[in-house]
């Protein structure tokens, strides 16, 4: 292996890799054994609780590599046993972000060969680009090559990631190191989700419930719901935007254009990206990562770096999103509040 890290250390850093599972198993960390180990169970509960509360796990593994790795796996099974999809997704999201931070930040993992070997564990075929395009400067700018089917499977579904915008040579998609890490993050997240839906999760639940403190957390987890939607911001919203917000809060699956419109609008009204993302949290198909990216994109923070403007009333109307049939006397929904303000001022005068 081409990483400067021991098997124990790697297991601790990336506990959901296959090789971590195998290593732990070989070292005697079966589920039953783990549940007998008080310290390990306590740590697992801490990790599971921490993930729900948004507490960060440390970037580095300092000691007790094996126990930490086993505890992280146990934590995942506890979350999975709760059957609460919100909790499972949140956990997978946090662990995959930690994965990327470690992949980027731990010094012993920086060789392309090392990253490619971690990719292999996740089922992503990759190799250093210099082996694909010998002697080309492409390998300088895009040091890693991912097999195209795996690129299509794991690349975030965002315009920036369209495969046509990467050099693709004889089946190999050449990418930058940061893009490669991002792609592996997706693969790692799916690995966590796959482990959470193991066939024998029923059996695992049964074992877990034997420990009262675990059973207690399981009950808490079953009731876990994401933070409530932000109530509202001061100042009147135009009827169109109000209608979209209401629909979202009711958990309705709103059309893409409506989400786009409300995001541009709220950002212009001074909402932060986090607040807008929170608004979408109650959507049935909410995916934190995709939503965040899309909102950032609209805010002009990523991708084309162009901030999108709020669609005009005419556009809103053509999308079927104007309930007043252009009856507010403004050209753009963003002017609605201002105008209401202006009217108020006039009245005072």
């Amino acid at each position: 292996m081409s990483c400067y890290a021991t098997s124990q250390e790697l297991s601790c850093l990336f506990p959901y890799l296959e090789r971590a599972g195998e290593y732990l198993y070989a070292r005697g960390f079966t589920l039953e054994a783990a549940l007998e180990n008080d310290g390990l169970v306590e740590r697992a509960l801490e990790i599971a609780r921490g993930a729900m509360k948004g507490r960060k796990r440390p970037l580095f593994c300092a000691k007790d590599f094996e126990e930490e790795a086993a505890a992280a796996r146990l934590a995942l099974y506890i979350i999975a046993a709760s059957g609460n999809q919100y909790a499972i997704r949140r956990f997978a999201d946090r662990e995959s972000k930690l994965f990327t931070a470690r992949l980027r930040g731990v010094p012993g993992l920086q060789a392309p060969e090392c990253k490619a070997s971690i990719a292999a564990d996740l089922g992503v075929r990759a190799r250093p680009s210099r082996e694909v395009v010998k002697g080309s400067i492409l390998a300088v700018y895009f040091p890693l090559a991912v097999w195209w089917t795996h690129y299509l499977r794991y690349a975030p579904q965002e315009p920036d990631w369209a495969m046509i915008n990467r050099p693709v040579v004889k089946g190999w998609v050449l990418i930058r190191v940061d893009d490669f890490e991002r792609l592996l993050e997706e693969a790692y997240e799916r690995r966590v989700l796959a482990l959470a839906s193991r066939e024998d999760i029923g059996y695992i639940s049964g074992q877990l419930a034997k420990r009262p403190e675990v059973a207690e957390l399981l009950a808490e987890l079953r009731a876990y719901r994401p933070v409530a939607v932000k109530a509202s911001v001061p100042g009147a919203h135009p009827p169109c935007m109000q209608a979209i917000m209401d629909a979202i809060k009711r958990g309705e699956n709103t059309p893409h254009v409506a989400r786009f419109a409300i995001a541009t609008y709220l950002l212009k009204r001074g909402w932060g990206v986090d607040e807008v993302v929170d608004l979408f949290r109650s959507s049935p198909d909410f995916n934190e990562k995709i939503t965040r990216y899309q909102v950032q994109h609209i805010a002009g923070q990523v991708g084309g770096r162009k901030e999108y403007s709020v669609p005009s009333c005419e556009t809103m109307n053509s999308w079927g999103l104007c309930p007043t049939n252009l009856g507010c006397g403004v050209k753009n929904p963003i002017q609605y509040g201002r105008r209401a303000g202006a009217v108020a001022k006039e009245n005072r005068a």
Partner: protein
Amino acid sequence: MRYIEALFRDYYRRAQLEVPDIERREFAWLTRDGAMVRHRSFKGVEELRSFCAKEAPLGVYYSVALYSDPGNKDMEAKGWLGADLVFDIDGDHLDTPACRGMELLTLRCLEDAKEEAIKLLEALDNELGLAGEAVYSGHRGFHVHVRDPEVRGLDSGERRRLVDFITARGLDLSKFVVRGRRGVENLLEEAAGSLRRIMMGREDGNYAIHIDEVVTADVHRLIRLPRSLNNKTAFITLPLSKSDLDKPAEEIVERAIAFRKGSISVTFKKPVGEVLWEKINRGVGEEAVLPAYMAIYLYLQGYVDLNGVR
């Protein structure tokens, strides 16, 4: 119609069908009264061939997908095992001067479709390392089949993203301009793989390969069986080798003609000008004696009534 049926039957009596993984595929056919029968399976090519010789279906289709139980009517219970990757290039959908508004088949439009098929095969090889097999559809276009195990597991989302790649959707040329130690560099000049297609596309603004997007993304698609007869033309759906594609479209259609012998007297229901290599130039109500293949083609297209075989 009875006459055409007899010809079809005769064709299938001698046809050399070839279907990889035949026992895993769903078959469908178009009956003489225009109904589509689906969810059938065959154990071997001989069974399929003799079925065709007996029933003389107007069109025969098979699934790009492989199933554990291909004859099952319930799509869920069919047991999807994977699917070939297929591309459909139809002259009818090409926006070239020769193809725009085309009704009856012209060789010029077929040439354009052929160019597109060549471009696709090159891109598959050069960019994705895939070997595609081209098939003349028996009408206005070409199909390309990829049976590589590599592609079988792609789901429809992944296929849709592959379509975006083939059609160059979302291409952003600025991604290939980088600032490095040697100043600003245009990586397109490396001309490797997909960069070559983009480089060449810069000259005419044509980065895309024009495929039917729905066909490629559909993992349950039924597609015309190679070596079967096309119900719209009575031409053979003809597998082509790489060198076949370098030949003029005229030669390809010539080889796809199933019924060469004899001529047929027809009466025109609609005016016909140029078709393939023939200048027919007849108006409504006029009669003519045409080569059998041409008469049948025009009949299937609804342009003539058949009067009698000569």
